[in-house]
């Protein structure tokens, strides 16, 4: 009886899991295996790969350069692109946090539930427009003779054109703008659950606003803050559209580099290897987060 029940439970579980397993297996695991396979093949002369010929060339190319004689020398170009991507993503996370946390806190502190929901809704409005369109809008804002340039000149703040479009700065602005909602929403979610009486208790015990924020609000919102940081950092690392449109040819990011390998450079194995390197880094970051929060005090959710 019990065994039969257990068996039927197993069948039920399998049936319930099957669709998601099929989707993840078919559209994630298989392509990943394929990508891993491609990354250890030789590239085809006109794009694509030579099936059945194995080579570690793609992984070597990441760090080394092979000259005409076939000898290797260290090449930091790709590493530099990775580094730039990390720095830009990190700066974006910091900017998004600096703007997003106060925004989330302000929304969470509103007494009127309708107003609060309206504000949350407004945070999500940018999602309604295509990312491409929104990034084009930033071109119009940031370019010389654009809105910001003209306004600054008119106010007498600048004499020369501002020259910010096609710089890492423009990418930082664009990325922060694009991913800000991913910072605001999880932080808001954890701040909304925050018991404001705890803040009153902190005031009561002699904490001023700054210290109540640092000792009570931020620690209790930490799961949301970290989730927000990951949700901004990870897609930033792989961002393609924003650096493509707002960054110049000198500020490539990982996403552009990978795209380039499958496009103009016709080096699929290298593109796949780059993709894998990115994936490994992201997975490591996620694992660090998981470990940190398994040991987290207070069992924050």
């Amino acid at each position: 009886m019990l065994a039969a029940l257990r068996r039927s439970q197993l069948a039920q579980r399998t049936a319930l899991l099957a669709p998601s397993l099929a989707i993840i297996g078919g559209f994630m695991v298989l392509p990943l295996i394929l990508m891993a396979y491609v990354s250890i093949l030789e590239k085809g002369t006109h794009g694509g790969v030579e099936w059945g010929t194995y080579s570690a060339e793609a992984y070597i190319k990441f760090l080394f350069e092979r000259d005409l004689m076939g000898s290797l020398s260290v090449n930091a170009d790709y590493l530099q692109i990775f580094l730039r991507s990390f720095v830009l993503s990190g700066v974006t996370v910091l900017l998004a946090l600096a703007i997003g946390f106060p925004t989330a806190l302000y929304i969470a502190l509103q007494d009127d539930r309708w107003y609060r929901n309206l504000l949350v809704f407004m945070v999500t409005i940018p999602f309604w427009t295509n990312l491409l369109v929104r990034n084009y809008a930033w071109i119009i804002l940031l370019r010389n003779n654009g809105l910001i340039d003209n306004a600054a000149a008119w106010l007498g703040l600048t004499q020369e054109p501002i020259d910010v479009l096609y710089t890492p700065f423009a990418i930082g602005v664009g990325l922060t703008y694009s991913f800000l909602p991913f910072m605001v929403l999880p932080i808001y979610a954890s701040l909304e659950k925050l018991d404001l009486r705890l803040v009153e208790a902190a005031f009561d015990l002699g904490a001023d606003r700054r210290r109540a924020l640092a000792r009570i609000v931020v620690p209790l919102a930490l799961p949301g803050i970290i989730a927000g940081c990951i949700l901004v950092f990870v897609p930033c690392l792989g961002a393609y559209v924003t650096p493509e449109l707002l960054g110049g040819s000198k500020s490539l990011m990982i996403g552009n580099l990978i795209q380039n390998q499958f496009g103009a450079a016709r080096n699929w194995p290298f593109g796949a290897a780059l993709g894998f390197a990115l994936l490994a880094i992201v997975l490591l970051a996620m694992m660090a987060y998981a470990l940190r929060f398994r040991r987290a005090p207070g069992g924050g959710t």
């Binding site: 018991d195 009486r197 705890l198 009153e200 208790a201 902190a202 005031f203 009561d204 015990l205 002699g206 904490a207 001023d208 210290r211 000792r215 009570i216 620690p219 209790l220 005090p297 207070g298 069992g299 924050g300």
Partner: protein
Amino acid sequence: MPQANAIDIRDITKVFGQGAEAVHALDHVSLAIREGEFFTLLGPSGCGKTTLLRLLAGFEQPTAGVIGLYGDDLAGLPPFRRPVNTVFQNYALFPHMTVAGNVAFGLEMQRWRRGDIERRVEEVLSLVKLAGYGQRKPAQLSGGQQQRVALARALANRPKVLLLDEPLSALDLKLRKEMQIELKRLQVETGITFVFVTHDQEEALTMSDRLAVMQDGKVLQVGTPAEIYERPTRRFVADFIGDTNFLQGVLGRAANGEIQIKLDVGGMVTTRHAEAHTEGERVTLAVRPERVDLEPVNAEAGEDTGRLRGVVETVVYFGTDTSYRINIDSLPEPVLVRVQNRQGAASPFASGDSVRLRIPPEAVQVLVD
């Protein structure tokens, strides 16, 4: 030397909201709370007790009126600058900190030195009998223990005044009784002025040095538990605290220090206090059930002063005493009488017996309204 006032509340009004939706949470409240006393705010839910505590703590600002702490006007002083601490109704312990971390928080805010903090935390935790619990998280403690942590945290800073908002209401009866004794002990030991909020009249009577009875944002009466119980001035106070019989009558003339009152139900009683009233005035009387005696009807004939005729409706035995409900002609509600049980004796009266109620002068309290 006269006792100093820890807190002077002068003519405080607090209005929430505006226009038609305005709520007068406090309505011209004045109170003086003495240094070192256990002072209780007693009243039903919604009467403004929490609001008054929040004004003292600084979480709300009064709409009108002045609050003084040891003579200093508290107006505009933020909560973190006030030498008062609060034990919150829901405890409000910091869930991400240990018990020791919670208790140390206030001391860290006052920038105590590390060693001093550790010593003080130990000291306060053992004061509330939680020594050795420092490294636990609040979630790992029982309700009663959390209550003690909240107390320890509020006491650690040695506040001049400790505010307690219904701190025991979430505990079960046995634990509540224990904590009542504990709180009283802590108050005596520390000498800190306690302002304690409760809606439980028994708790208020047993714990307080003095208490204020509140209703609808007003303070109706302030006094010692005995004064409040024995000499309630308002119908609400008499009704809210203990059981009371209400009788209507007209004040007569005073003689030999006693004032006669002609009752509406017939008969006369006398009282010793009716200073606020004049001859011929209609008054309401409060008579505590245990101050009334029952006599068999055949003792003497006639209805002399202080005696009323009635018929026993119900008899309920309570161990230490017996409670009677006595029907009196033309009185809509039966009168409640409680008689202490003598050794081994069964109740001398049964349901349906005719009896006489003897209401001595000291049992009669003339109400103001």
